[in-house]
Every structure is written in C-alpha cells, then in structure tokens.
Symmetry: C2
Subunit: 332 residues, 2 copies
C-alpha cells in the first residue's frame, strides 16, 4: 500500500471509531453530565488506542468488527484518564478546546470522568469472546496501572531528585500501559497465538515509550497550532520530562543550577516565559539531550517494529509499521 | 434466633468482610495513593452493602463464601462514590474521621477514588460464576446509575423547584441502586430462581428507599456522637431532603418563605445555626412532615419485608428481616 492509501485507511478506521463512540453516552441522563460526556468523546483526537486495537486484531487474522467495542472501550477509558488528569494538572485546554472543569465545573468534570470509566466497561462487555472475564481483568489491571502512573507523576512534581529509571516506570504505567493493553486486546480478539499476543503486547509497550518521549520532545520542537498545546509548556511548569531529567543529570555549573530552579518553580522568578523556554532549550541542545531523545525514540521504534516479525505479513501489519513510523516522525 | 445472636452473626459477617477488604489494596504502589486507599477501606462503617450480598446469597440457599468477593466489590465501589462525593460536597469528615481531600489533597482523593473503582472490578472478577460477564454488566449499570444520582443531587443544589418525584428518582439512583445491586448479586451468586432474584432486587430497592429517608430523618433526630455527623447539617446546607422538599410543598406563608430561603442559601443570613435548625425542625413538626417521613419509612420497610416471602424460611431470611427492622429503627 502507498502512504496515501494508509492515510485513507486510517481515516476509515477513525470514522468507524467515532461513529461507535457517538452511540456510547446514554440519553436522558442529567443534562450537564450527558453534555460533558458527549463533549469529551467528540473532541476528536487521533483515536490511536482504538485504532491500535483494530489493527492488532486484523494483523493476527481477526475481523476488525470483533474488536470495535473493545477498541472504543480503551478509547473511552483513555478519555476518563484525561479529564481527571486535566483537573489535577489545572489544564486549561485539551485538543485545542476548553477543558471540562473550566467549561462546566470541577464537579461535572470529576463525575463525567467516573461515568466514562463506567461506560468503558459497559462497552467492553459488549464484546463477544469466549473468555471475556480475562479480557475485563486485563483491562482492569491497566486502569489501575494508569492511576498509579498518574500518582507517580503527581509525586514527581514535589521532588527534584526524580531518576530517569523512575521516569521510565512512570511513563510505562501512564502511557505505555494503555498502548500495550490496546495491542494485546486486539491480538486476543483476533484469535492470535500465544506468541503473537505476547509480541503485540510488546509492540504496544515499545511504541508507547517512543510515543511519550516524542511527546516530551514536541514540547520544545512542535508546531504550536498543530500540536494543540503551547510550545515550552512543560518547561514553564517545570514538568519532569525525559529532557529535563536527563539534562539535569548531565548539565554542569550554572546550567545545572538553572534547571534545578526550573524544576522547583517552573518559570517563576526566572524572567519572561519566552526567555526561560529559550534558555532551557539551549541547554537541552548544548548537552545533546535533544539528540539523545531522538535516538531513544528511534531505538524504541525499532524494537516495536521488530516485534511485528511474529505476525503474518499483510496489509494490517504493514499498516502498523507505517503507523509507528508516522507517529514518531509526527511534528504535532 | 434471638436479637443477641443476630448481632453476633452480624459481627462475624462484618469481620469476614473487613478481613477480605484488608487484602485488596496492592502493595508497592505510590505511597500517598496506597495510604489513602487503605485509609478509605479501613474506616469502618456498617459494611451494609457487602453484608446484604452475603445474606442474600445465603437466603436463597447459596454458600456465603461464594459471595464474599462480590460483596467486597460492592463495598469498595460504594467507597469510591463516597470519596468522590466528599470532594464534590466539600465534606470535612466521614465516619468521624477527616476526609481524604483534607487529610491529603484533592488530587489524592480524586485518584484514590478512581483506584477504588478499578479495585472493585478486580475484586468482582475474582468471583466464580458461570455467567460472570452478566454480573459485571449488572455491576457496571449500577456504577453508572449512582453517578447519575450524584449528578442529580448536584443539580438539585442549584434549583429551588425540585419535586418529590425527582427526589425519589435521585435517591433510587444514588442510594437504592447499590442496595438492590447487592441483594440481586447475592441472590444470583446463591443460585436463586428467577423469581427469587427478582424479589431480592426489590427487597434492596425498598430497603434502600427506607434507609435514605431514615438518613434524612436522622439529620434532625439523631444522637450526634453515634450518627457521626453534625445534627441539622442538612438543614444548614439547605440540602434537598425528603423533609425539606415535602415541608416546602406543604408549608404556607412565612414558614414557606423561610424554607425557600434555607433552600437558596442554607443558614446564611438567617441567624445562628442553632436557631435555624430549631426553627426548621419546628416547621417540620408543625406540618407533620416528620411523621410523614416515619410512615414512609415504615411502608417501604413493609414492602421490603413482603418480598422476603419468596424465600425459603431459614436463618438468613430471618436475619434479613431483623436487619431491615434494625436499620430503619436505628438512631445513628
């Protein structure tokens, strides 16, 4: 297939997911809650996790339709984590739109997150599979890990001594786990062999890691409009990203001291936001942290692609390869 | 069995539940999150919902052990709703202890609620049952209804025209649904017949309604220390309870105007809290709302007890009868 055909195929899958997602929120519920849930599920986004479920199912020889409810379940659960994270992070926008706790209020955001988690289970339970309870258990283990990842992320905010090892554990839980859940669920629903299921889980794991480091990198490199977030936003918050942690480890003298101050209080007291972002970005470049991130992304992508060798060659696995490359080369 | 033996049996069941609950929170999680979850699950409480699952299983001829994980699942899910409700209601204490969002912070409370919901599913999935997915679906429907009930409750705060019909719908979702889930789950796990399962669901429904109106009533009648909440607290917040809504419907002239003001802003601008509680309580008494509540409680309890006729007579059903009476005659 050509890249243009991959793109079209991706659009078709995304449309399938969006259509199913549009049926998920119950009618006749309390108005604010229903509206907020609809708002959350209609906000666009890449639908990456759902598409990963579909393609992983396809790639081991399953029918995509069999994985659609599970794919939507993971997507809805992902949105549950986003709305609660946005409350905790005091985020103002998400995908270029106002966050729910600002557009409505914190209570509505909290409750709509709870509802999305409930809805994600309801959607998953619509799946037909001979051992559905084991799928629900897998899903539940992922829910718990994502929460743990978020707790670690919050804890990191209060510490300046976060190690890279801790960072990797955190992103594995907070980002990687949903990716590996997606690819594993898809392979299970497609009737993949044990080896294939395990390979697909690893695929999601490596892809998730590459994806998160790429996300960290985009904070300093992205095209603001397409990324949908303010460039340098992580720096201004003193967020513990790969870049900041690695640079704080590598940098010396004044640079190191400057990064420590950014970690302690973000841009506060350090001058104009623009100047802080420029200085930190220069430090990143100077100590080679940007290129280190790039090679880490490349390495994890290679690992992800290698796991696909356990799959039969075909359109779906070719598409997973293309998607992996596209994701880690994205500039938004 | 004598009341003393019922009491002892209740203690045994509660201990079984508490012991199982103590095993639920994972070790090695992020410290704050783990501590908050433990705190939430060790706070005592009547464990009413779990015990209802156990007794309902027993009453249709099942083995209590078979229902223990499901009973704990409902209890954990109930605690998920409490910690999130406490954030939304800015509650300061719960069961006589500081709430999680005050003892830790809002983020920890939010996240520990999410974790409890995940843990409740994990616990439910430990149950052995030939159609476990249908039990999980039942559980999920209840999660969603409880959230809807809470959304209605929040919406009521902004309205002074809440009807009694809306109030009953709200308490059915927010309180009744977990009770009817408990008794239905128990009957299903005990292998009850279709008629028995349906009867047990109704039992929980009526008991839940009686229980909630009793809770409203205790706000004006309770023994403060044993109730664990401040007497008149609902009045001071202008909370839409059966008493307030019914009195606002019945009262005339100045009394009606006074209640409307309480509804709009609680005790604010109306004098000392003690004086407001006294005046509102007098209005309740004057218009016969307290005795109306009492007879509603009695009627719903009778309905609940009547559903037990579908069960084989035995210790468990006798105990359910005793428990129903004890609950609605409680002064705490």
């Amino acid at each position: 297939m050509t890249p243009a055909r991959f793109e079209r195929r991706l659009d078709v899958l995304r449309l399938m997911v969006d259509r199913r997602l549009a049926t998920i929120v119950q009618k006749n519920g309390p108005a604010d809650l229903t509206d907020a849930c609809r708002y959350l599920l209609s906000g666009g986004g890449k639908r990456l996790r759902a598409i990963l479920v579909l393609l992983s199912c396809d790639a081991v020889g399953g029918k995509i339709r069999a994985a659609l409810d599970a794919g939507c379940a993971v997507e809805v659960m992902h949105n549950f984590t986003l709305v609660h994270d946005d409350i905790m992070d005091h985020a103002q926008t998400r995908r270029g739109r106002q966050t729910v706790h600002l557009r409505w209020d914190i209570n509505t955001a909290l409750l709509s997150g709870d509802v999305l988690l409930g809805l994600s289970y309801r959607q998953l339970l619509r799946t037909r599979h001979r051992s559905l309870p084991s799928l629900v258990a897998l899903f539940t283990a992922a829910v718990l890990e994502v929460c743990e990842g978020q707790a670690m992320d919050l804890e990191f905010e209060r510490r300046t001594d976060v190690s890279l090892g801790e960072y990797f554990t955190m992103i594995e839980k907070k980002t990687g786990r949903l990716m590996s859940l997606s690819s594993e669920l898809g392979a299970l629903l497609g009737g993949g062999s044990k080896v294939q299921v395990q390979s697909m889980r690893k695929f999601g794991h490596y892809l998730g890691r590459a994806f998160q480091i790429q996300d960290d990198l985009l904070d300093v490199l992205a095209d603001e409009k397409r990324f949908g977030k303010r460039v340098g936003g992580d720096i201004l918050e003193g967020k513990r990203t790969f870049l900041l942690l690695r640079a704080a480890e590598t940098a010396r003298g004044r640079d190191r001291e400057y990064l420590r101050r950014v970690m302690r209080g973000g841009a506060r007291g350090l001058g104009s936001p623009r100047a802080v972002v420029r200085r930190v970005t220069e430090i990143y470049e100077h100590y080679g942290v940007v290129s280190e991130a790039k090679s880490l992304i490349a390495r994890n992508t290679r690992h992800a692609l290698a796991t696909l060798d356990a799959l039969p060659t075909g359109n779906a696995s070719a598409m997973l390869r293309w998607l992996s490359e596209a994701l880690v080369n994205r500039a938004f």
